[in-house]
């Protein structure tokens, strides 16, 4: 891994300066059942393509931001500061299929 990420605060930097926060998962609104919880906690869409994800500029401005990255090429298409509230959040990714693994 050696790609560059344009931090919204600091500009283009080596990926080694950042911590990966995972793809953006949809947190359930109300209490999920065990399978739904397991799905939220452990299952990711893991797309081969453009994915929206969290990054933290650990060795820089120490801010969290969101990025759209093509997981096939590691091309970072866009980065932006997180959108403020749930209402403004981008249309969430489809939830992955429910697993049979218990969550807890």
């Amino acid at each position: 891994m050696s790609f560059l990420i344009p931090c919204p605060n600091c500009g283009s930097r080596d990926v080694n300066e950042f911590a990966y926060g995972g793809e953006i998962a949809v947190r359930p609104e109300a209490r999920p059942n065990v399978r739904e919880l397991g799905s939220y906690l452990y299952f990711r869409r893991n797309v081969a393509g453009v994915q929206r994800e969290w990054w933290f500029h650990r060795l820089g401005c120490e801010a969290w931001f969101q990025a759209e990255r093509d997981t096939r090429t590691n091309e970072v298409l866009l980065t932006e500061r997180p959108r403020a509230s749930r209402d403004e959040a981008p249309p969430g990714p489809e939830a992955p299929a429910l697993p049979d693994t218990p969550a807890v």
Binding site: S2, F56, N74
Partner: protein, 869 residues
């Protein structure tokens, strides 16, 4: 041995350099390489081959092949043909038992054949299994090439440099220089790296920077090109990369093609032109392109007699064989015609050095017209110029091999690095390894030091012929970095181990403390007497440096709501000036950290974390703040603040001497937080009791830490104050059954099973981990973290097994001898059914089972009377 001065020679004959080969002095000139100077001194055998220990001499003389690997000044695997000669250099042969000229291991070449077929090490030395240590010792001795100088340690220093550049040109040949010039003329910032000595200042003309000798190791995503510049690894980030790596002369495959005296045309050209050396006295030249055949003129000018020239474009011999005497070339047979010679120049055309382009994502295809693999469809921002792009004069495509029939029984090498013969390849195909990628792994062809430079194309040709297909159908093996060999030291960079020290560190050192690592922190293990330190805390007063605690300020109008939503415990109703403990959980309900939170005022909370959790927790808080978008600011103050915990029955008395604050139990009670001056230092005082006695944590600005510490020690001396370290603290907290996150919990532990249901407020609308903990509550507890005390005197090991019905059913997480209780105590995870007061546990200690009893309440002061006193 040198020819009369020649126009293009690189050597400066006015001065002589002395170096040592196997301890014997030798001479060369400035401009020589170690290899050319050795050649000039009459040396022809430069190395012994990997498997058969056959003598090998200069083949490519340009840093591609493995034939001149030697130890130079203790560094193994140096290609001496390109290593500039230095005064006093100490050069030795490697991979030999004996000497280069008489290598005992060469017996493998004579008799080892039938015993060492391709892949023999996958099939032999397996039985009997008990003999493996013996086999292993033998294999370790014979495998590999050079020997690392274990005494060298960190005598060489390596550094890493990060550079951004607009255009990076790799390769300093004609095409590379032209590309660099053109880019520079457009006003771009250009750096050119070259494996050899580089084009020199004159070519650059000051318009671009040249780094040489320096090898580009690969092209990675984001335009990253690590360049090995000797002692420095330069990580280039280039906007545009121009690859001008040229083409590599390919050997021909015939019996005896590895004999000393068989060379590629480039080697002949360099020896004659650059170092004025005569490569041989009588030569045969067999070549498939003009470039190869043009060395004839050079050889003549150097006084070499030409015995025969075979132009593969005009004639197609069926059989070629080289025969040697004592490993040196003696004669060549071309279709039965014997020719005495001591030099055979062979050339199977030139293969574009496309590896870097392939790594960058270019497609590589076989061009049947030219008989080579060429790069096509380059990725954006990568360019190829010159020979690597396929700009080659056309030549003939040589046959796969020139062996067969006759008496020519000599070994016929496809790969000189790994000693892979045509016989090995045929056998691999017969065994079913019919794809080139499988053949690579099985025969190790292309896996040696040359990384396929000289063996990829010949092995593909041979595969194509043996499988009755063509080269395009066989394809090529994947090109991976590093493209050039690189020392691990260079990749590792400078050896350093960063350590964090508290502002009080020097005082601990003066007190003779034994230090230990906790994460990146250096902390005090003890001041020599942990048991005495524990006693001081119980009986008088102790002081411990807890500056390493994570210290995070959470402020803003939503601060209370934020913490309420994040932590399982309740914080909305926490009054200013009060402290509450909580674990911090994930949405999976797992414990990630713990600590106390003090409310300073309506909008500000002072959050402490474990010493190793500070960064994780601060990132975690920042993340949820980003997710929820609340009006909260999170500031990590860990390094900015020092902290000292003063604990023991006489702690109040000591504190009273140093502050105007009313420290009576009534006005400063347990879990109060106050701000006051202590010894004149502005402090935040937290009355908490991790170690189980009346105690105050004093947090102050780091620069004051040392002064505060010294004053406490001085003014507490008559009260019996002793500084204590982590070991004492571990015993003290264990007596209270206070958990250490990470020691007593792991990534699976939740607060309910860890015995802290009281921090989980299920009646809150929401908190991170609530759902998972609700599910845990509903499914019931499976295991529990409980205290135990041993029936006997043994202290069980941490990690020791709890055994139920002869099976492991739990584990000890902490165990210590408590001098206060005169018993061995600890914490352990046990099946939930055993989590009852007085339940009996069997703990495995050194193979025996020792008895223990469960204790659910703190061993010492179970009602917290001392804490609240």
């Amino acid at each position: 041995m040198r020819l009369p001065p020649r126009p293009q020679e690189r050597i400066d004959r006015s001065r002589e350099l002395t170096f040592f080969f196997e301890g014997e002095p030798r001479h060369g000139f400035p401009g020589d390489t170690v290899g050319s100077a050795l050649f000039a001194s009459g040396r022809r055998v430069f190395s012994r081959s990997f498997k058969y220990h056959r003598p090998r001499g200069l083949l490519c003389c340009s840093g591609q092949c493995p034939n001149c690997l030697m130890q130079v000044d203790g560094v193994p695997n140096v290609r001496v043909c390109t290593m500039p000669l230095r005064e006093g250099a100490r050069v030795r042969g490697q991979n030999v038992l004996g000497s280069l000229d008489r290598d005992v291991m060469s017996v493998v070449d004579k008799i080892g054949g039938p015993f060492t077929p391709v892949g023999f090490y996958y099939r032999t030395m397996i039985r009997p299994r008990r003999a493996w240590p013996l086999y292993e010792r033998f294999l370790r001795n014979v495998a590999g090439l050079g020997k690392i100088d274990r005494g060298a340690g960190r005598t060489r220093r390596f550094d890493t440099e990060h550079r951004r550049v607009e255009v990076l040109v790799i390769g300093g040949g004609r095409a590379g220089i032209e590309a660099a010039r053109a880019a520079a003329a457009r006003g771009e910032q250009v750096v050119l790296v070259d494996e050899g000595l580089g084009p020199g200042e004159r070519a650059a003309g000051g318009s671009f920077e040249v780094i040489a000798p320096a090898r580009a190791l690969g092209i990675y995503e984001g335009g990253l090109v690590p360049v090995d510049a000797g002692q420095v690894l330069i990580r280039f980030r280039a906007r545009r990369i121009v690859v001008a790596t040229g083409a590599i002369e390919q050997p021909l495959v015939f019996p005896g093609n590895d004999l000393v005296g068989v060379m590629l045309p480039g080697a002949v050209r360099r020896l004659t032109d650059e170092w004025s050396l005569r490569p041989g006295s009588r030569a045969v030249v067999i070549g498939a392109d003009e470039r190869a055949l043009s060395v004839v003129a050079e050889l003549r000018s150097a006084g070499t007699e030409i015995a025969r020239v075979v132009d593969l474009r005009a004639e197609s011999p069926r059989r070629i064989a080289a025969e040697g005497k004592k490993g040196r070339l003696a004669s060549v047979l071309v279709d039965g015609e014997g020719l005495d010679c001591d030099l055979l120049v062979m050339s199977g055309g030139r293969q574009p050095a496309y590896s870097l382009l392939a790594q960058a994502g270019a497609r590589i295809e076989y061009d049947a017209g030219r008989g080579v693999f060429v790069p096509i469809e380059l990725p954006a921002s990568v360019e190829a110029v010159g020979a690597v792009a396929g700009e080659l004069p056309s030549g003939a495509t040589p046959a796969a091999t020139y062996e067969g029939g006759g008496k020519a029984r000599g070994k016929c090498f496809v790969c000189v690095c790994e000693d892979v013969t045509t016989k090995d390849v045929r056998r691999a195909i017969a065994e079913g390894f019919d794809s080139i990628e499988l053949a690579k792994r099985y025969t190790t062809v292309t896996m040696g030091p040359c990384q396929g430079r000289l063996c990829q194309l010949p092995s593909v040709r041979l595969y194509a012929r043996e499988n009755g297909t063509d080269e395009a159908a066989i394809g090529r093996t994947t090109a991976r970095p590093p493209w050039a060999p690189v020392s691990l030291g260079l990749l590792a960079g400078r050896g350093h181990e960063p350590a964090r020290r508290t502002s009080i560190h020097e005082r601990h050192v003066q007190l003779g403390a034994r230090m230990m690592w906790t994460g990146a922190w250096r902390r005090v293990h003890s001041y020599g007497d942990p048991a005495g330190e524990v006693r001081a805390v119980h009986e008088a007063v102790g002081a411990i440096d807890v500056s390493t605690l994570g210290k995070i300020l959470v402020s803003g109008p939503d601060a209370a709501a934020f913490l309420e939503r994040l932590y399982p415990n309740r914080f909305g109703d926490l009054r200013p000036g009060r402290i509450r403990y909580s674990v911090l959980g994930t949405d999976a309900g797992r414990i990630m950290d713990d600590g106390t939170i003090a409310r300073l005022d309506d909008d500000r909370f002072y959050v402490t974390t474990t010493s190793t959790g500070a960064d994780v927790v601060s990132e975690w808080l920042e993340w949820w703040n980003a997710v929820w978008g609340m009006g909260v600011e999170v500031v990590n103050l860990t390094g900015a603040l020092a902290a000292v915990n003063v604990a023991g029955p006489r702690a109040r008395e000591l504190l009273g001497r140093l502050t105007d604050l009313d420290v009576s139990n009534e006005s400063f009670s347990y879990l109060d937080a106050k701000q006051a001056h202590v010894a004149g230092v502005p402090c935040l005082l937290l009355r908490i009791g991790f170690v189980g006695e009346l105690g105050y944590e004093l947090h102050c600005s780091s620069p004051y830490g040392e002064y505060l510490w010294s004053t406490l020690l001085e003014r507490g001396a008559d009260l019996g104050l002793r500084p204590f370290g982590l070991e004492a603290q571990r015993v003290l907290r264990l007596e209270k059954q206070h958990i250490l996150v990470g020691q007593d919990t792991d990534s699976e532990s939740n607060a309910l099973e860890a015995g802290m249901p009281w921090v989980v407020k299920f009646d809150k609308d929401e908190f991170v981990g609530k759902w998972a903990l609700e599910h845990v509550r509903e499914r019931g507890l499976r295991e529990r973290l409980v205290g135990f005390e041993m029936t006997g005197w043994t202290v069980p090991p941490e990690g020791g097994q709890i055994v139920v019905d002869g099976r492991p059913a739990g584990r000890v997480t902490s165990a210590r001898w408590s001098g206060e209780l005169r018993r061995a105590i600890g914490l352990a995870w046990v099946p939930a059914a055993l989590a009852e007061e007085d339940a009996e546990l069997a703990i495995r200690v050194d193979g025996r089972l020792e008895q223990a009893r469960v204790r659910l309440r703190p061993f010492l002061d179970p009602d917290g009377e001392r804490l609240r006193s």
